[in-house]
Each structure stands twice: as structure tokens, then as C-alpha cells.
């Protein structure tokens, strides 16, 4: 099957420029999938422990939090934006939820709702600043990154919050299929990916997100309310970071003010490795799911092979550069 895919790409590469174009597009969609398959085959041949349902479930569990953030990041990047505040907003969400529930003794469900609202509020703030003041998303979210980071540490008093009531840790609990334990957090992450895929690929709002990222002037002149699209995108991303916060609490069992400090870059990595263009308008959630899994599988596989952890970063770095280079090259062909 792999051979057939490669052969098809080669065949499409022959002939005139139109076919080169078809090849460029095929690479941007099939490339990440191929990388995922090749990496899986590689690790399967290297260690017996890789291709087991328990291990694969573990990989999904490990990437669920970054994966959910990456879904929000995908929305933002599709509009040719970027969200550096993602991890800090999530960390703020975990502190709001745990602190309200434990220190203030609020009803856990109310705590969760307020935590989600806080993250959504940050997303809304990002959206309003990007559209209202027309500031570059990079700068806006760099600002809100620092604000959320500061608030997290002020509100938490630098303390990790433990002894959480059950509803807060629910998404860390598992159920079994056969003998394999699967966390509810993993299921939630996949569910969110599915919902977002539907919204992007099948709804009118989804088309408007692509159009806004691809050519904002054309979209606006065609009657797309691009500001409203951007505000909705950043706000939805904020909500997703809030949900990621809840899944993170479930996974670690505590509210940790130090959490998520690299989650913004990890999520951008997953999105880019998944083939979504940083220039906006191209890519999608399926790519991001694959990108998240690629990064997760490399970390997990290298770990199982006993490779020192620092090499995982090396590999991730190479993956990002390759992914962006492919995107850039295919753009040049299209131009």
C-alpha cells in the first residue's frame, strides 16, 4: 500500500507544471500520514513493546492534552494567526478550577464552569485585540501569555493544589476495552477532534475560516464577516484550552502552576508537522491529529528504545523544519 502511494505521488509528479502542483498538494496531505506510518513501522521493528494496545493507548493518553490545545491552535493558524498564550491560558484554567474547588470549597462543577469561562475569556480577549486594534496575533498572544502566566502564579501563590474532588479528575479515569485501559481524556480529545473536523470541513463557518486565512480581503469583499470569524476562532481556541486544562488535571491529579509552559510551542509543532500552513487557509484537524501522534510516537518510541530524552527534542526539531520546508516549497510551486 505504501508503494502504491509513493508510486502515485511519483506519477503525479511527471509531466507539466499542473501535475507538479498536484504533487505538491498530495505531499501536504499524504506526507504526514506517511511519516506516521513509517515511524510506526520503524519503532515496531526496533522494540517489541511499541506495537501493543497498552502502549498505543498510553501514547494517546500522553498526547491528549497537547492534542486538544493543538486543535485550538489549528483554528488560529488556519486564519494565518498564531496563539502563543495557549499553554499559559490552560495553566491558568487548571489553577482557577482547582483553587475554587479546593481552597474556596466551591461546587466542583461550578469550579469547572468558571475555569472554562476564564480560558474562554482569554480567547475572547485575544480575538478582540487582534480584530479591534489590528495588532499582530504574535504580539497580542505574547502579551496575554505573560498576563495569564502572572495571574496563574499570583492566584496559586506558587502552590500546587492537591486533594481534588472526583469530578475534577474524571478525565484521568479509565475504562477497559479487552485488557487495554483507556482514559476518558483520550476519548474526549478524539471527540473534540471529530467535532472540530465537522465544523471546519462541513459547515459554512468552517469555509469562512479557510477563506479568512487564505485571502482576508477577498473574504471580506465576498461578504464574510472576517472580524467575527477571527473573534469566534480565538474564543473557541480559548474554550479548548480550558477543556485541555480539565484533562490535564485528570492526568496529573493536581493543579500545578508550573504546568503547560511548553504547550504553546508543542501545539504549534503538532499543527505544523500535521501539514497545516502557517500562512493560513490550508490544512486541518485531521493533519493535526496525525501531527500530534507523530510527535507522541517519536517521544514514546525513542523512550522505549532507551534513547536519552534530549534526543526527542532533536528529532522534533528536525520534524518541524522538514514540515515547514515542505509547506514553503509547495507554496512556491503554487505561486
Amino acid at each position: 500500500m505504501l508503494h502504491a502511494l509513493l508510486a502515485r505521488i511519483n506519477r503525479e509528479g511527471e509531466g507539466d507544471g499542473r501535475y507538479a502542483l498536484a504533487r505538491a498538494r498530495a505531499i501536504s496531505t499524504l506526507g504526514p500520514l506517511l511519516a506516521l506510518i513509517l515511524a510506526s513501522i520503524f519503532f515496531t521493528t526496533r522494540t517489541d513493546r511499541f506495537l501493543t494496545t497498552d502502549n498505543l493507548s498510553l501514547v494517546v493518553q500522553q498526547v491528549a492534552v497537547v492534542g486538544i490545545i493543538a486543535i485550538g491552535q489549528t483554528l488560529v493558524i488556519l486564519t494565518a494567526g498564531i496563539d502563543l498564550s495557549a499553554g499559559a491560558v490552560m495553566a491558568f484554567g487548571t489553577i482557577v478550577m482547582t483553587r475554587l474547588a479546593v481552597t474556596r470549597g466551591l461546587n466542583p462543577f461550578e469550579s469547572i464552569a468558571l475555569g472554562l469561562a476564564a480560558c474562554t475569556g482569554f480567547g475572547l480577549l485575544n480575538g478582540l485585540l487582534v480584530t479591534g486594534l489590528r495588532l499582530p496575533p504574535f504580539i497580542v498572544t505574547l502579551g496575554t501569555l505573560n498576563i495569564a502566566f502572572a495571574l496563574t502564579h499570583i492566584v496559586s501563590n506558587e502552590e500546587t493544589i492537591a486533594d481534588l474532588p472526583r469530578p475534577l479528575t474524571f478525565f484521568g479515569e479509565t475504562f477497559e476495552i479487552g485488557t487495554t485501559a483507556i482514559t476518558y481524556g483520550s476519548v474526549l480529545a478524539l471527540g473534540l477532534a471529530l467535532v472540530t473536523w465537522f465544523a471546519l470541513a462541513q459547515t459554512i463557518g468552517g469555509r469562512h475560516i479557510y477563506a479568512t486565512g487564505n485571502n482576508p480581503d477577498a473574504a471580506r469583499l465576498a461578504g464574510v464577516r472576517t472580524r467575527r470569524v477571527l473573534i469566534a476562532v480565538y474564543t473557541s481556541a480559548g474554550l479548548l484550552y480550558g477543556i485541555a486544562a480539565l484533562v490535564l488535571i485528570g492526568r496529573t491529579g493536581v493543579g500545578d502552576p508550573q504546568a503547560g509552559q511548553s504547550a504553546n510551542l508543542d501545539s504549534i509543532t503538532a499543527v505544523v508537522v500535521g501539514g497545516t500552513s502557517l500562512f493560513g487557509g490550508r490544512g486541518g484537524v485531521i493533519g493535526t491529529v496525525i501531527g500530534t501522534l507523530i510527535v507522541g510516537i517519536f517521544r514514546n518510541g525513542l523512550q522505549l528504545m532507551g534513547v536519552a530524552a534530549i534526543y526527542q527534542f532533536l528529532v522534533t526539531g528536525v520534524l518541524v523544519i522538514v514540515a515547514v520546508a515542505v509547506d514553503q516549497l509547495s507554496r512556491r510551486r503554487r505561486a
Binding site: T203, G205, R207, N214, D217, A218, A222, G223, V224, R334
Partner: protein, 260 residues
Amino acid sequence: MSAVETIVPVLEARQLVKRYGQVVALAGADFDLRPKEILAVIGDNGAGKSTLIKALSGAVIPDEGDILLNGVPMHFHAPLDARRQGIETVYQDLALAPALNIAENLFLGRELRRRGVLGLVFRMADRQRMIRESRKYIADLKIRVGSLTQAVETLSGGQRQGVAVARAAAFASRVVIMDEPTAALGVKESGQVLELIREVRTHGVPVVLISHNMPQVFEIADRVHIMRLGRRVATITPQTHTMAEAVALMTGAVSAAGVS
């Protein structure tokens, strides 16, 4: 002459004024577009043709003056207002989203929804219906493209302009405005776009064509509206005037009285 003047213009402007600080872009400009005609608008750079067109398409709000559609005064605050009244504009170069396909571009901003709950609650787009209807619009204007689901970026310049014109023609019930539609195209492709413009007129919708290309204007236009210093200095026809006379009017070498 008196028989012609009783025709109610489809789109009319009276004494439009638009100032940008000290710069006067429109200094009391008149405009009239008659049913089923191709009206070319020409003028030197800075003569105000672009501001005039923007006022007519809702992109610019004039400081003074009236805009009338079929004799009814209009107040456009945004391009969407003009479009709701059946005035569609084809912009020079920023008309399409290259990564989206032809059908998606045709319906951008006006997507059709699925019927029932899927459309109402989930705002699900009805792709099949949009593709079917796109096929009709494309065929109506005799535009040749491969698949309607191919991305616009895979099309040639002429085909892209064809898609942009098809979109305008599909939704324009009253007026199509085209801003330099052939500026970026080769000779052959320009010819195809001119054919498209005639095709739009054949469907009964009058066309306003902004162009720098004199031979093209004289080839296709029924009447030519000439702008100079923010005013309409004359409206001529290719039958009664030569290109040299049009240029003379445009540059102010001759007054309107001098050539007519």
C-alpha cells in the same frame, strides 16, 4: 436625443462629492447607467473613477450627492448593502480565495445550507447543491474549466477572472461593476473576458467597466463615461467619437463642447 433621456437609468449618481482631507476625489460627479448597456468609465489616474465606482458599490460613502437605483435613492454604508440591492462588483485582483475550490468561491459569503436541522442548527453547507448550481452559472457564461471542485489556484488567470465574473453575474440582479478586469491578463485571455462581459449584457444585466485600455473600451462599450478632475466631463459613444477625441477629453486638451 429626447427619446433617450426619458429612459430611467438603472443606476444614477447626482453631484457626488468626496473629500479626503484637502484632496477632493469627487467634485460633483454625475453618473448614469442605462438598461442593458456596457458603460465604460475612463479617466486619468486621480481623475476620481475609482472613488466614483467605490461610492456606487458601497465601499466609499460620499460626503454629498445622491445615488439612485431605478430612480430610488440609496444609502450604501458597506459593499454588502449594495450587493443586497443586486449590485455586484468584480475587483481587480483580490476577488478570490486561491485555496478554495471554484464552487466554494462562487458561493463565498452566500453559502447554501443543508435543508432541515443540519442546516438550521449546525449550519452545514450543502456542497452538492452548490456544485450543481455553480455548474449552471459557469455554463451560462460559457466558461471552460475542468472540475468545479478544483482549487482556484490551479486555474489560469483568465479562468480565474471567469470565476470572478461568474460569481458577480450569478448574484447581480441589477448591475455588474468590473474594475480593470483584464489588467493582469494576456491578449487571448482578455478577449475571453470581453466575451464574458458581452455574455452578461446578453443576460440583461448592464455592466460598468473601468478600464485603461482604450482599444478595448472602444471595442466593447456602448457608451463611454469620461472623468476628469473629479467630474464627468462627457459621455460619448464609440460611434460618434474617436479614441483620440476621448483621450483629449480625458487630459483636458479639449473641452466637451469642443469635440461634440
